[in-house]
């Protein structure tokens, strides 16, 4: 029976053992430790499967080392777990295929994501890695909202897209870096063409 459904009776709480909520310990790649409730962890499919597979007891959680999350830093992980704790117990949404997607950003999430875009990128990356569906939905919605009211040139700046000219120049530079002789051959070819030769050889 869940805690919520348990009958409410007046008892001396000190007299009987109360089932403790389990808090798992996680460690970020910069060695910051976080304690996260079992219910909050359910928001992340990756972490939920991990703790299920580990089968930790309350003692294990306290005695064994914290579960390391190697590729997420403490600042990002703090945001992720804040989000999970706030939304614990909520149903995980299923993609209904609506076009465009209908996603509302709740006030708490909007405040949580009021961060610089570098950290937002890390947060989205973490939500994808940890498979937190709703966090991914709202964070992607926030990024999509950046397109609102923008012209094509502004969109290029917002999403850091190279212009066609920059893209071409970068491609040429990459080709030359790979094969320094390529440019020389191209110049030689152009020179011969100017001289009226039909064939390069």
């Amino acid at each position: 029976m869940s805690v919520e459904n348990a009958p409410v009776v007046d008892v001396d709480e000190a007299a009987i053992p109360v089932e403790k909520k389990m808090y798992y310990r996680f460690e970020s790649n910069d060695k910051k430790e976080f304690r996260v409730s079992e219910l909050a962890i359910q928001q992340s499919e990756t972490l939920n499967r991990l703790v299920e597979a580990m089968g930790y007891t309350s003692e294990d959680v306290e005695n064994k080392p914290a579960i390391a999350i190697e590729n997420i830093d403490g600042k990002t992980l703090k945001l992720v777990f804040q989000w999970c704790e706030h939304h614990k117990g909520e149903a995980i949404p299923v993609d209904d295929g609506s076009v465009p997607k209908i996603v509302e950003i709740p006030e708490f999430d909007a405040k949580l994501m009021d961060i610089d875009n570098g950290l937002l990128f890390k947060l989205i990356w973490a939500a994808d890695y940890l498979n937190i569906v709703q966090l991914l939905n709202v964070s992607c919605k926030k990024v999509a909202n950046m397109a609102q009211g923008k012209t094509p040139a502004q969109l290029r700046r917002v999403y850091l897209l190279p212009s066609d000219e920059e893209d071409e120049a970068a491609k040429r530079a990459a080709q030359e870096a790979q094969d320094p002789r390529a440019r020389e051959v191209e110049e030689e070819f152009e020179e011969r063409k100017r001289q009226g030769g039909n064939s390069f050889f």
């Binding site: 076009v99 875009n117 989205i124 992607c140 009211g149 094509p152 290029r156 999403y159 212009s163």
Partner: protein
């Protein structure tokens, strides 16, 4: 404030683009070649649906959900500054109106070029969307032929076509490429209609690769007897099942023809 969209993992990029509206995706695709590639990579094919409406010189694409007009092609946009963009093969002036809820596109070229450019561009910017067509023109045939040609060239399938006016039946071969067609009976050519309907039914039962599921002809002033008479003359085997005529198609499917309240419905089941 910038966000490195192209560095995002596949699922993230896909989610971001799926959260953009038709207009935002359209403008995004105009920003550069990389954006077009991103749409092709991140958005599944035929993810979006659009309705192409044609009336006079304006072709309008609307949202199915909101019925909001999103795009107008070759409409007058005096007094608003425009953005020159390469759409399809040609340059066009793009006007953003009312906080982008409406986008006007002026190609400064003829209607055929505009149509070709627009169709080729929407196939890129919405990754081969599902299209439904509403032909509001007085003489839709020529325009419809051009539209179908460009849609086919860009591998865009048509869900439905709705003709508001009479239409020539020699377009029947194109109807077979649409899932559903609605049109109004052309009473000027009563005799010809019966003849062409029989020809059309012959095509429908002989070619199993067509996509047509249903065709409805409104204000149809012919009788079931006239249809059976034409079918007999054409040598098309048919059977009367209840109030409907049943034809056998070459792939084993059935074609049902029903005429109720001057609405002729031909259905593939």
């Amino acid at each position: 404030m910038s966000f490195p969209l192209l560095r995002c993992p596949y699922l993230v990029g896909s989610q971001i683009l799926k959260n953009m509206s038709h207009q935002e995706l359209f403008l995004f695709s105009l920003s550069c070649k990389r954006a077009k590639k991103a749409i092709k990579m991140y958005l599944p094919k035929r993810y979006l649906s659009a309705e192409l409406q044609t009336k006079d010189y304006g072709t309008v694409v609307t949202h199915h959900a909101t019925e909001k007009r999103d795009f107008r092609i070759q409409s007058a946009c005096a007094g608003i500054s425009s953005i020159p963009c390469l759409i399809g093969d040609t340059y066009a002036e793009v006007y953003l109106i009312n906080d982008l809820s409406l986008i006007d596109i002026d190609w400064k070229s003829n209607k055929k070029v505009a149509l070709k450019s627009f169709v080729s561009h929407i196939s890129i910017c919405w990754n081969s969307p599902r299209i439904s067509i509403k032909m509001d023109e007085e003489k839709p045939s020529g325009y419809f032929l051009d539209l179908m040609k460009h849609l086919k060239l860009n591998a865009i399938t048509v869900d439905s076509v709705d003709f508001a006016e009479n239409v020539r039946w020699d377009l029947g071969v194109h109807f077979l490429q649409c899932k559903s067609v609605k049109l109004i009976f052309n009473w000027y050519y009563h005799q010809k209609f019966k003849f062409e309907l029989a020809n059309f039914l012959k095509m429908l039962i002989n070619y199993s690769e067509n996509k047509l599921k249903v065709i409805r002809i409104l204000e149809c002033k012919i009788t079931t007897e006239e249809i059976t008479d034409r079918l007999d003359k054409k040598g098309i085997v048919h059977e009367k099942v209840g109030s409907k005529l049943e034809l056998q198609r070459c792939d084993g499917k059935k074609v049902l023809i029903g005429l109720v309240d001057q609405v002729l419905e031909v259905k593939v089941v």
